[in-house]
Amino acid sequence: MAVAVRRPGRLIAEVSTVVIAGIVAFPLYWMLLSAVKPPGEIQSANPKPWTLSPSFDSFSRVLTVSGFGRFFMNSLVVALVVVALSLVLSFLSAVALTRFSFKGRTVLLVMILVAQMVPVEALTIPLFFLMRQIGGVAPAFGLNELGSLVLVHLAFSLPFAIWMLRGFVAAVPVELEEAAKLDGASRMRFTWQILFPLVAPGLVAVSVLAFIHAWNDFLFAKTFIISKTENQTLPQAILVFFKPEDTDWGAVMASSTLMTIPVLVFFVLVQRRLVSGMAGAVKG
């Protein structure tokens, strides 16, 4: 886009862009800064926007006191399992919905579109009862177990993931499939060895969204993991330091930082593909 290039306004635009970027990033800077401030400086009536003596006191408090590592691993395991499974399941569904013709395809597509809109938070009550029932049959997926979280997050990421991948799968030319068939590749082989790598940008976007979804969850972890505290996830771990009247802000900021880092790393690693993936999906 070449509009307004070389106009005197561009410098103003660039300066404001940088200032806005600074404002947007500021809460993250404040989080990191407060996490490394020495104990005396955090809860100060005159907070300074810098620190001269960074310390890792808050981090060590978080990492030693609360079993934080355990909660971190719980969150990570749930998120990674959800990512892996949602990649496979949404890919298979997207292939079926775009490359096979069968009766009821249109109906299924509409159902998936509608499923994206269901306010999943409203389903907490029936899901709570369902997980209690499942616990009687398959204990690893019942209340208080990480499996229950995997199940709900998987189900909630799938509709959008399928919808997103659909566009990418459809963009692979039909001729490629015919050529593969002529070369004697089975449908299964074509699906996994040719199609799967070709839709990589879509898969990246799907995995990021599924990861964030599972990693961020507060409500379902709070509802499902009730009595078995060692199975709680990160949000509950942070909650421990947060008491309205007596908050350990240093620890809250340190644990918030630790919780943000994996997502940020994931995001930065895949950002190019994510952006094109999002664009592909919303255009679809």
């Binding site: 940088v18 990033a25 306010p119 029936p126």
Partner: protein, 315 residues
């Protein structure tokens, strides 16, 4: 750093003649996701509606008392509560503010991003990615800390320039609390709009804009008369997605207003339903709130489906 790659052209797959075995293969491919969605989404929706018709408290939940069918009593009960209408009004107002806020900020910055060189744009996108990737709970805490009554930077800065904000509590009053939560929600949700709209604007052919500029159209005019109409389908999708997200915010409200504020002044429907069900052990009433929420959002869905149908050959 962040560049928008050309998205794959999404075209409707050509209507192929039905091949032998397609149906069976499709069933196999769809089965895993289908079973999961039926069990974790469709069945719970059915259960939600069912529970909302019963007097379902703790004794019923543990199986110690028989279920009593109430018909629409939970609903009439709900609709006659003053608190329900207040919460509904606050939810809609709060969601509307968040939606409008993130659309304005996201679209405005997307337009700005197309006007600047790569470096400032990369900084903006990097900051936006940072906000986007901050987990809701971490974001809630940071914003709370920035606006903390005693230790917050915002009060310090505002009172430093002579404004009466010393020991001001942002979360005490309804407007302040909702405003603070809305600011956090907009902060972490505008990046989606930014990325979507930036991709959309980049997709507008240069020739169209050059032609407009040759005809002497101002930047402002080009933006409003050419750019926005061309990216309207994307804007529509961003709007509907924002409505869906912001209408069901839970974590931020729950954490930042400490469970909905003193005497539930800062409740939204989600938190209200949660409290009725799990704290008040009124699962029937909580489910009725869930059904009302679902119906409200599904009516928005109708809009979305229509816009999708019109915008492209999507099936």
């Amino acid at each position: 750093m962040v560049t928008v790659q050309e998205a794959p052209p999404v075209t409707a797959p050509a209507r192929k003649p039905r091949r032998k075995g397609d149906g069976r293969a499709a069933a196999l491919y769809l089965a895993p996701a289908g079973i999961l969605l039926a069990a974790m989404l469709a069945y719970p929706i059915y259960q939600l509606v069912l529970i909302s018709f019963y007097d379902y408290g703790q004794p019923q939940a543990t199986g110690n008392a028989p279920l009593v069918f109430l018909g629409f009593a939970n609903y009439t009960d709900l609709l006659s509560q003053v608190q329900f209408w207040t919460v509904l009004g606050k939810t809609v107002g709060f969601a509307a503010a968040c939606v409008v806020g993130s659309l304005l900020v996201g679209t405005g910055l997307a337009v700005l991003a197309t006007r600047v060189r790569a470096l400032p744009r990369a900084l903006l996108f990097l900051a936006a990615l940072g906000a986007w990737s901050t987990p809701a709970i971490a974001g809630s805490y940071v914003w709370l800390f920035l606006f903390d009554t005693d230790f917050g930077l915002v009060n310090e800065v505002l009172s430093g320039i002579g404004l009466p904000f010393e020991h001001h509590s942002w979360t005490f009053g309804t407007l302040g609390a909702f405003g603070l939560v809305a600011a956090e929600v907009i902060w972490c949700s505008f990046p989606f709009v930014l990325v979507t709209m930036y991709a959309g604007i980049k997709g507008v052919p240069d020739e169209v804009l050059e032609a407009a500029s040759l005809d002497g159209a101002s930047t402002w005019r080009t933006t409003w008369a050419i750019l926005l109409p061309m990216v309207r389908p994307l804007l529509m999708i961003a709007t509907v997605q924002s409505i869906i997200w912001d209408f069901k915010v839970f974590t931020q409200i729950y954490v930042m207003t400490n469970g909905g504020g003193v005497a539930g002044r800062n409740l939204v429907l989600n938190v209200y339903a949660y409290q009725q069900a799990f704290a008040g052990q009124e699962y029937g009433l909580g489910s009725a709130i869930g059904v009302v929420m679902t119906l409200l959002l599904l009516s928005v869905t109708g809009l979305y489906v229509r816009s999708q149908r019109r915008s492209a050959a999507w099936l």
